[in-house]
């Protein structure tokens, strides 16, 4: 596969491999928004996100000649960006153990009751008000790191299960398990939050 269709724009891999700068600039324009958003969501700090953005594209520039196309270009870019962000995350947490362990709350989670509040009836302008959006971000921040990564790639960036697995170097089964836990975790947080909104109406 030599050409990749993104937003109906064609990116030519041979041109990229040959070091065509104009083509690389097009690639940067198409992917920089996604890489920046990803880094911002993982690291929650604009300066760190900008560093990751720059490092990611420098790496891509250097590695393009050896890109074999075993995964899609977009998955490959997500993989590099995620690895860069993870490295920074680990550096931050040094001395403070490793990334949040997913197994940490596994036993407890099995016992937790699901929140049963139907908040779907709330109008969208209320669900996505300024304050509502802030809460959505806060809820993602509170996800354990390893669940967060899966959720961001799959549900925010829209990668498939398989692409998410490739980008994170995980099996599809692990991705599915973590995705379900992340989604339920967030659904729970949102239920608590929106239940308050319903009450105060």
């Amino acid at each position: 596969m030599n050409e990749v269709i993104i937003n109906s724009e064609m990116i030519s891999l041979p041109a990229l491999r040959a070091g065509d700068q104009r083509e690389f600039a097009r690639l940067v324009d198409i992917y920089s928004v996604r890489v920046y958003r990803l880094a911002l969501k993982i690291l929650n700090d604009p300066q760190d996100a900008e560093d990751i953005l720059q490092e990611t594209f420098l790496k891509i520039m250097r590695a393009l000649p050896s890109f074999e196309g075993r995964s899609s270009l977009s998955t490959w870019i997500y993989r590099i960006a995620t690895n860069e962000a993870l490295m920074l995350l680990r550096k931050r947490k040094q001395g403070n153990s490793t990334l949040d362990d997913v197994k940490h709350d596994e036993s407890e989670e099995g016992e937790r009751e699901l929140q049963i509040i139907d908040w779907c009836c709330l109008p969208e302008r209320e669900l996505l008000s300024g304050e509502g959006r802030k809460f959505l971000d806060k809820a993602i921040e509170s996800l354990p790191d390893l669940l967060k990564l899966v959720f961001i790639l799959r549900d925010i960036e829209g990668l498939s299960i398989r692409e998410t697995a490739e980008a994170l170097n995980l099996t599809e089964v692990t991705v599915k398990t973590r995705l379900l836990r992340a989604r339920l975790f967030l659904r729970d947080k949102l239920s608590t939050y929106y239940a308050e909104r319903i009450k105060s109406r």
């Binding site: 940067v28 720059q54 139907d118 829209g158 989604r183 339920l184 949102l190």
Partner: protein, 83 residues
């Protein structure tokens, strides 16, 4: 919840279900359960809504112009920057 055992096993398949990737047999079984279990209906609906809200709230994200300018400069691509 009314039928804890059944609801729990349903939970395992929820992600596949909301993504439309559940096998037809399991899907029929799950929908049969949903018909009679209001609590599970709420869980399914609010789960779908949660995912939808996150998609919607990130649709319009953009990169600040100064961040983009510095990125192009760092990559030595300033001459190709498109307005």
């Amino acid at each position: 919840m009314v039928d804890k055992g059944h609801c729990k096993s349903l939970l395992q398949n929820l992600s596949d279900y909301v993504d439309g990737e559940l096998s037809p047999e399991l899907c029929v079984e799950l929908e049969r359960h949903l018909d009679g279990c209001e609590n599970c209906q709420i869980v399914v609906n609010t789960l779908k809504k949660t995912i939808e809200l996150y998609r919607l709230s990130n649709e319009k994200d953009y990169i600040p112009d100064d961040v983009r300018q510095r990125l192009f400069a760092r990559l030595d691509l300033t001459e190709y920057i498109q307005k």
